[in-house]
Amino acid sequence: MEGQSGDITVTSANRKCSAVTGSARKIKDNAADWHNLMMRWEKLNEEGFNVAGNIVNMRLTRSQSDQLLLVDESSSPSSPSSAPSQQTGGAAELQDECCKLQDVVDKMVAVVTKMERLVTSQRGVQDLEEFQFGPEGRKFPLFHSWNTKHFEESSRVLLESFRQELKLKQLILQEVAHTATSDLCMVYLSCWLHQPFTPPQTRLTLEALLLETGHRPL
């Protein structure tokens, strides 16, 4: 578990925590997992953006050539020979890209599922603490200053952002290959790329979590 976070330095917080209780160990591991999951999400986001971009390009070129085809057919009764094969070739490629995008979204679903497990695990730590120390929780924080409830809240906030983001991406996946207007296609791409439901606070929350648990040096 230590290896995953990569840049752990041994500080007094580290030493104190790994000696003290299993809860601290669990929270610290969760923080590392959050970091890794968010990195994975970013990579998938980038990959998905490229694929979605391809889909949009293919879709728009196709609708353009559809229109050209109609014009040709109306002006001359003999249909152009090369166009139909181009059409079917295009359709297969479009299908391919859609499958790739589906694949990316499936992987994102897996990431969010793991995030849900992290929140559940955090809830477990919280429950245990309430059982051991009563509703107020433990007197001294496990790390620097956050009480255990804070960890749970941070995790829930992170999870909610990613859940919403995933819903948005699932919609984009459904719609992007069928959208005819280039403006709406562009909006879908913007939504995918800029991730409107993960505000900058998300990144800051993660950094705060890593700082608190000692994964980042203070």
Partner: protein, 202 residues
């Protein structure tokens, strides 16, 4: 017949041309770095335009509360980031302009101080290794003017850009490109060629 004023003046001119040569390179490389930023700006402008053309409530995106507001915020952030980076590049361009301006004004000051002892013949005399004083001063003045104007135009273009003025953003990349002045740049390269022997000789 050698004039005592000539030697320091020639030294100053050499220094100026060396300064010009170095700064020309810096200027070019900064402009090259600006290109991808301008492309990003154009992309963002396209995205803004598309968003303003679409009524989200008529699309499947209506199911997402405050999506438009959130997306606008993100686009704003991205636009501000690009504009910030462009401003940083402007600082570099300003340094180039300042270096050249300072150097050239120092040379001209030296010339003014000694102009009494420099008659027309001396000033227009050229040799195999050195162009005439008047030519060299003229070339430096031209170069200084070029960078001064370029900086001013580019800075003015960028200053006017706001994330909420879409048409300005959309036209920015093209207007930026139109500021390129290859003939002036070539002129400076030419100048540096003409003075290369002069710079090397002592």
């Amino acid at each position: 017949m050698s004039k005592p004023a000539l030697l320091p003046l020639h030294q100053a001119l050499r220094k100026s041309f060396q300064c010009l040569e170095n700064n020309q390179k810096v200027w070019s490389s900064v402009l090259v770095e600006c290109s991808p930023l301008m492309v990003s700006l154009g992309n963002l402008a396209e995205q803004w335009r598309a968003l303003s053309n679409v009524q989200l409530s008529n699309t499947p995106l209506r199911d997402f509360p405050d999506l438009e507001e959130r997306l606008r915020f993100k686009l704003l952030q991205a636009t501000d980031t690009v504009l910030g980076k462009l401003n940083e590049k402007m600082s570099s361009l300003q340094s180039v302009r300042d270096s050249i301006s300072n150097q050239v004004s120092a040379v001209f000051q030296l010339y003014e101080q000694n102009s009494d002892s420099l008659d027309l013949l001396t000033v227009t005399e050229r040799s195999a290794t050195a162009p005439s004083l008047s030519d060299m001063l003229e070339w430096l003045q031209d170069a200084e003017r070029h960078y001064r104007q370029q900086f001013l135009r580019r800075k003015t273009l960028l200053q006017a850009l706001r994330a909420d003025d879409l048409s300005l953003l959309e036209s920015a990349p093209e207007r930026w490109k139109s500021l390129e002045s290859p003939s002036a740049e070539d002129g400076i390269t030419d100048t540096l060629c003409k003075v290369s022997l002069f710079i090397e000789s002592q």
